[in-house]
Symmetry: C2
């Protein structure tokens, strides 16, 4: 036999059970999004490279999957680009299109392109795969699904509160206990200003963000490496080590940043969001965490991140506010704020904690055994009636040996089997076998239907 075929590294096939579980995740998130008035859109897998390039930093440009132009793609490519040019430059000659890298840039493009059709504020959600040419490793894939909700066209901090409320509802439905971490870019800017190192804000926050991973000494070493003086590092210590309740942290920081307006603005924003959430009885903990510094190249206000409490895994949801979302496409003055659920990690958490509902995997509730042409013809209209009652069922397509058909039912996890031979046909009935108990009963179709209805 030929070599087994395979799929590109970093990609995955999803079998029936995995697909059912993924659909459960998407459907739960979708229902919560919709209950808050978010509307679903979809954008093409391929975008023009001019839309994608330069939006994710230099590393992102490298990680874009580029699509070779159709037809005679070499025509007109200058000899120089071919031989002396960089791969990046040559790729730009050979490829006009790329696969989307996230859902935020396509959304910004969508808003600008369709701005005349949109009613603002526009609450949209989008659940689609994205592709990144990352080095494949455990838990990191080249094709994975993002579930994003964003509001564009409102500066209101109620949007931040709403998004966190949605996060809490989603994880409460999944039964996953979470801690929601909140920070604000403006607080970090205020800190950098306070120690007179505004130009080093990215280095500072990148270092602080690693506290969990490399510990306090590691963070301080990194700060030193990025050129911060001992005095500045000393000033940062109480902040890196900040503890207590959210109220205590806010109070400490208000004193620290008393003379830094941008920092106070950030504290006010966080204060408002936390205060708003207090009235809403969230299940998860919400924690102000100044070491949270994700996505600093684009977030400008609040930043969020969600951690599962009962599993060791990275962030399972994140987001924040990005002023001027659509500026990159020439439409100024529109602010956006959004969250992105990581479906793959949520999948792993649900599996690890054994939280999937029991009834997800079996798509068939009843198998009609096939004893031959006449019996099959007798069963087909009965099967149609069972389906009309909302119960999934199938007729085994071949009149194979009884043992083989029962094995099939077992392997598929089908809970009930209907048997109709001469005796049953003469009475217009079927024998229903419960695969779990082995019990058999002779029933009319309506009796059968009411016996195996999932809820009743």
């Amino acid at each position: 036999m030929a070599q087994k075929p395979s799929i590109p590294k970093g990609t995955r096939d999803f079998g029936p059970q995995e697909t059912a579980r993924r659909n459960y995740i998407f459907q739960t998130i979708r229902e919560v999004f919709a209950s808050y008035g978010y509307q679903q859109i979809e954008t093409p897998a391929m975008e023009n490279l001019s839309t994608l390039m330069g939006k994710y930093g230099e590393e992102g440009d490298q990680l874009l999957f580029k699509i070779l132009n159709s037809g005679d793609f070499m025509r007109g490519v200058p000899e120089a680009d071919l031989r002396q040019g960089s791969p990046t430059r040559l790729a730009a000659r050979l490829c006009e299109k790329g696969l989307r890298y996230d859902l935020t840039v396509p959304f910004a493009r969508y808003v600008v392109q369709h701005r005349d059709e949109l009613t603002l504020p526009f609450r949209r959600y989008q659940i689609q795969p994205v592709w990144r040419a990352d080095r494949p490793q455990k838990g990191r894939y080249r094709e994975f699904c993002q579930c994003d909700a964003d509001v564009v066209g409102s500066d209101s901090l109620l949007c931040e509160a709403e998004l966190l409320q949605m996060v809490d509802t989603v994880f409460s439905r999944f039964g996953i206990r979470v801690r929601i971490k909140v920070n604000n870019r403006k607080i970090l800017s205020g800190l950098a200003e306070l120690i007179g190192e505004s130009d080093k804000i990215v280095d500072i926050t990148v270092a602080i963000d690693k506290l969990d991973k490399i510990g306090l000494d590691g963070v301080n070493a990194e700060l030193r490496q990025s050129g911060l003086g001992e005095e500045s590092i000393a000033l940062l210590q109480p902040i890196i080590n900040l503890s207590g309740t959210n109220e205590e942290k806010l109070a400490t920081m208000r004193r620290t940043l008393a003379d830094v307006p941008v920092g106070l603005k950030g504290l006010d924003e966080v204060d408002f969001v936390l205060g708003t959430l207090q009235g809403l009885e969230l299940r998860g903990e919400v924690e102000l965490d100044l070491t949270l510094a994700r996505g600093l190249n684009y977030y400008t206000g609040c930043i969020f991140e969600v951690k599962a409490l009962d599993v060791e895994i990275g962030s399972i949801t994140g987001g924040g506010r990005y002023d001027n979302l659509t500026g990159i496409f020439g439409l100024e003055g529109l602010s956006g704020v959004g969250i992105s659920f990581g479906a793959d990690r949520i999948y792993d958490v649900l599996e690890g904690l054994n939280l999937y509902p029991d009834d997800l995997t079996t798509s068939t509730r009843l198998l009609f055994v096939n004893f031959g042409a006449a019996e099959a013809a007798y069963c087909l209209p009965l099967a149609a009636r069972v389906r009309a009652a909302g119960i999934s069922c199938e007729l085994y397509p071949d009149s194979a040996k009884m043992k083989k058909q029962m094995q099939y039912a077992n392997q598929r996890g089908i809970p009930y089997v209907a048997i109709a031979g001469e005796t049953e046909m003469a009475q217009g009935k079927v024998t229903l076998k419960d695969m779990a108990t082995g019990q058999q009963r002779l029933l009319s179709v309506s009796e059968l239907i009411s016996s195996i209805q999932p809820h009743g």
Copy 2:
């Protein structure tokens, strides 16, 4: 302002209404598939080119979207391929992966790769986009969605009957009146054998397939062009013009093909499928049509095609049996049969006939007006209670002018608005406005919930 951004030609953005309608199509098809015990799988957007190439004919190879290798993709490409080679050959050097072109080849690959995990017969369905570098034109896109159901691992003609029953159920749920056309490759083979032109079977069937488009004279002209003698063409006339009921057609063909075993086998197969369906009270007409000749390079038995009766449009669903589905990947002896729903054309038919359910488009049922911080804080827990009752609602995020907020409700098609100012807050109530009638009522939240429940 910069130039408006755009998307690659032949691709589409789907706004909220289109996405809701497409979801309705997918969900309906999904429910029917699942009710027959079909299990959903998903495969990656990217497949190795070795999986895809050579499976769709030479034209198909050209229409595959190929993905440029990551990193230094020029390294090791021989100078000869660069300058003298064909684009196809060079593309094979630059690209290892391509976007999937249909769902059948990835399914065959899946079955072979996962054969040790599968219980046969395996009924699977798959709803995913596919990509083809076709010249974009009206109704033909470079990214479009296929909805496929296949059974692999059974030769039983009950599978064919079941698939057509599913087709009928799907279109009956949509409210689309259809004609299901059935033919069998073996009948066509028998005909070619009868006139002594077995080697011309593809030419003959391609010509006959065009009867609708180019008429009888056109078909005969094509037959002549492909080298058929006048005698052969004369022999084919009664078949091309075959009319009457399915029974009459079968009887005529049985006489015509009396001495051609393969032809009789084809007639027996069609006879069985049509006979089986007769007991099942389908809504749509099922018609034996000998001019139906789709997909002859791969189908080996029954062939199906579905036409909408009330709209001028091409086939909206098609399928057939392909023996040895997995032979291309080295696993011999597995027969498959399947159908593929064309979601894009079904979309157009539903739109043309105005058959979409009314309640698809609005995702929000109730808007809370925002009068300021205190009022918003009062509304937020109420909104949470409304959502907990299964009703979608939103709070306008900014305390904008009342007129602007009402305009927003109108433009979004939100049917109810909740207003809470000082008076309402003092009484713990809200004023509910029905946007259609303009009627306003002062209600408690529980009264509000029971007033606006969609069903009750």
